[in-house]
């Protein structure tokens, strides 16, 4: 009934869109909007994408704009960067970011640093995108989170969407951005549907890079997360609410440049901080957040040490029981919240 009312009023009701479709639509619209945008990567064209994210695009845009590459990451990432230097706007897909390690020199040394080294003569408008972090049962070599590695480097923007609105809006922003953007998706999120508002469905809807979003308001403790873990935080918050603990859940959306101001404002309000990420603890996203909180105005408002919930510090095992215990579960988040609040 509500949907019908919406429809009659505006002609474009809020609809349920999976993250995969949100990414697909974002790319479709940007390909249409700007002739210089093109997509390259393994299986992106005729296979419709290894994870079907680029479904239908090759049929619509053809060989010139949707390019299947051989399995040669270093080579095709370099080619993508070179094409960006010469006036095109490539989207370079890594089948997973684990494979980007083979090409990481091109991402960092050829893409990220060039605008600086050339003192502004040579810009590199490129997007590197693909699934990042743990999946299900793919074991150690296919499960690494690269948010911290890429987030370390000046000259890059690093984005990590959680839901469909994030995916759609941030990908459009990334493609329109004149700088190298590393776009970290999550395979387990591809099939998850979320409601997209009418506004979010518009062709010019973008989500600004560098701004975090408060997904849930709360007064007792701040939870900061990115990507899939945002959902876990919201689930934990729902359970904790029944016990009278109100969590404020912040979706980082962008790893670099990080919106520390939003986190600080929240911590000043709640006096407690727990960061949650899927990646390893050492030198990770949470470590950076804690360091910055210490160095900024929010430190004096902390009633307890800021704490990180992270993946276990091991290569990802295969067996389901082991894998399940290698990444933060909702109970781990709840446990850390209660410890921090001393309840």
């Amino acid at each position: 009934m509500a949907a019908l009312r919406c429809f009659l009023r505006s002609g474009k009701p809020a609809m349920e869109v999976t993250v995969r479709d949100a990414l697909n639509q974002a790319m479709d619209e940007e390909l249409e909007r700007d002739d210089r945008v093109f997509l390259l990567g393994e299986e992106v064209a005729q296979y419709d994408g290894a994870y079907k994210v680029s479904r239908g695009l090759w049929k619509k845009y053809g060989d010139k704009r949707i390019i299947d590459t051989p399995i040669t990451e270093m080579g095709f990432a370099g080619i993508a960067v070179g094409s960006a230097m010469a006036g095109l706007r490539p989207i370079c897909e890594f089948m997973t970011f684990n494979f980007s390690m083979q090409a990481i020199d091109q991402v960092i040394n050829s893409a990220a640093k060039t605008y600086y080294m050339s003192a502004g003569l040579q810009s590199v408008p490129i997007v590197f995108r693909g699934p990042n972090g743990a999946s299900a049962g793919v074991a150690a070599q296919h499960s690494q989170c690269f948010a911290a590695w890429y987030g370390h480097c000046p000259g890059l923007k690093v984005v990590s969407p959680w839901n469909s609105e994030d995916a759609r809006g941030l990908l459009k922003s990334a493609i329109r951005d004149d700088n190298p953007v590393v776009f970290l998706e999550n395979e387990l999120m591809y099939g998850v549907p979320f409601e997209l508002s009418e506004e979010a469905q518009s062709k010019d809807f973008t989500v600004p890079i560098g701004k975090a979003k408060i997904e849930r308001q709360g007064n007792h403790i701040t939870l900061v997360s990115h990507s899939r873990m945002v959902g876990h935080c919201l689930d934990a918050a729902a359970v904790l609410a029944k016990e009278g603990i109100e969590c404020e859940v912040i979706n980082l959306r962008t790893i670099r440049p990080m919106d520390i101001e939003t986190i600080e404002a929240s911590v000043i309000k709640t006096n407690h901080l727990v960061t949650v990420e899927g990646g390893w603890p050492q030198f990770g996203v949470g470590a950076e957040i804690c360091a910055r909180i210490m160095e900024g105005p929010a430190f004096n408002y902390l009633d307890a040490p800021a704490v990180r919930v992270t993946g276990v510090d091991i290569p990802m095992p295969y067996a389901k029981i082991l894998e399940d215990h290698s990444v933060p579960q909702i109970k781990d988040i709840m446990f850390s919240v209660k410890k921090t609040l001393n309840v």
């Binding site: 093109f38 010139k64 390019i67 590459t69 051989p70 040669t72 270093m74 080579g75 095709f76 990432a77 370099g78 080619i79 993508a80 960067v81 070179g82 094409s83 960006a84 230097m85 010469a86 006036g87 095109l88 020199d105 091109q106 040394n109 050829s110 060039t114 605008y115 600086y116 080294m117 050339s118 003192a119 502004g120 003569l121 040579q122 810009s123 408008p125 000046p154 000259g155 923007k157 004149d178 700088n179 440049p257 160095e295 900024g296």
Partner: protein, 393 residues
């Protein structure tokens, strides 16, 4: 006019010059020079090609003087850089190009400025041929604000229009160059990309990945291997199972070219450019050349090769001498005229060096600029939490 007066006065002084006893009785005017001559050039070895570049090259007097001037400028600029480095006014890495001038000048003669070019770190010569000035290049080496990259790039990171550097990571420039070629094809402007690498880089995996994609997608890319016989301190025989670099592209046609002869390089480049522009895909050229300096300024260059070898190349194959002899022996220029060019070049280099040593270093305010393009100003963390530096686009 000044040149003519010099010539006239020389003649009147009865100095017949080195041109052999020419019967020069009257003042030699411009019209007395041969305007154009055709020279035999070395045949190129070919790989997967029916025919190679022509066996002769026609040179106009005007072009000859232009190539001479450019090569001499390049030579003197590199030697001046050597000097400044030893005085510690240039620091860090400095990879000099002297000996290889015919490559940069010959290549540029075979393409247009609207074409694109990318190379590795031995890049000062190409920065010049692609439109950089000696002043900007030298000031970049000395790290001053008047440098071509405002002092922020240094020797290995110089850029100009349609020139993508200057790249420090061995081999990384090759996929980049193919990417530029992809953009050329995509944008349908009939432009191509010249993509250079050395004999050391030629063994890099990413280059073979690039050969594959460039060939599959018929990218308008001229791959050029500048084989100067040594990858840093390792001779080609010790680094490569196959030193036939022009064949290493396998399914890509190749040419092996005398890289010390500017005319040979020019004809080969024109041949390669025609091939590319006709839509046949990439082509590979190996330029056999030689560097007089070591790999970089921290390498004396004599621990892995003999001084005799270096001297032999200098006396028998120097690219500038070769062009000079050709022009003089064919009455395309006079000794005085070339000397005049030498003097002008020396002055240009001196002026540039003067600028490069007196121009101030970049202002500290520039430290954090140029992180992102087309972005509002942002804060950058300094060395400590209280240090918030400003970054402009």
């Amino acid at each position: 006019m000044r040149k003519m007066l010099t010539i006239i006065s020389t003649v009147l002084r009865g100095n017949a010059g080195k041109n052999g006893a020419r019967a020069v009785v009257a003042a030699r005017t411009y019209a007395d020079f041969t305007q154009q001559a055709t020279f035999d050039i070395k045949k190129c070895d070919v790989h997967k090609l029916e025919e190679g570049p022509p066996l002769t090259s026609t040179l106009t007097r005007e072009d000859g003087l232009k190539y001479y001037r450019t090569m001499q400028t390049m030579r003197r600029m590199e030697l001046k850089a050597d000097q400044l480095y030893k005085q510690k006014i240039i620091r860090g890495f400095c990879h000099l190009y002297d000996g290889q001038e015919a490559c940069a000048v010959g290549i540029e003669a075979g393409i247009n400025l609207t074409d694109h070019l990318i190379t590795a770190y031995r890049a000062h010569g190409y920065t010049l041929t692609r439109g950089g000035t000696v002043r900007e290049i030298m000031a970049e080496l000395t790290g001053r604000r008047g440098g071509i990259a405002k002092g922020k790039g240094g020797s290995m990171h110089m850029y100009a229009k349609n020139f993508y550097g200057g790249n420090g990571i061995v081999g990384a420039q090759v996929p980049l160059g193919a990417g530029v070629a992809l953009a050329c094809k995509y944008q349908e402007k009939n432009e191509l990309c010249v993509c250079l690498y050395g004999d050391g880089a030629a063994n890099q995996g990413q280059i073979f990945e690039t050969y594959n994609m460039a060939s599959l997608w018929k990218l308008p890319c001229i791959f050029i291997c500048e084989n100067n016989k040594y990858g840093m301190g390792t001779s080609v025989e010790r680094a490569a199972a196959s030193t036939d670099y022009y064949k290493r592209g396998d399914f890509i046609p190749g040419l092996r070219v005398d890289g010390m002869d500017v005319l040979c390089v020019k004809e080969a480049t024109k041949f390669a450019a025609d091939f590319c522009r006709s839509g046949k895909g990439p082509i590979l050229m190996e330029l056999q050349t030689y560097r007089y300096h070591g790999h970089s300024m921290s390498d004396p260059g004599v621990s892995y090769r003999t001084r005799e070898e270096i001297q032999e190349v200098r006396s028998k194959s120097d690219p500038i001498s070769m062009l000079k002899d050709r022009m003089l022996n064919n009455n395309m220029a006079s000794v005085e005229e070339l000397k005049e060019i030498d003097i002008e070049v020396r002055k240009e280099i001196e002026d540039a060096a003067q600028f490069a040593t007196t121009d101030p270093e970049p202002p500290l305010e520039d430290l954090c600029n140029h992180i992102f393009y087309n972005e509002p100003p942002m804060d950058v963390r300094g060395t400590n939490p209280w240090s918030k530096l400003k970054s402009m686009s």
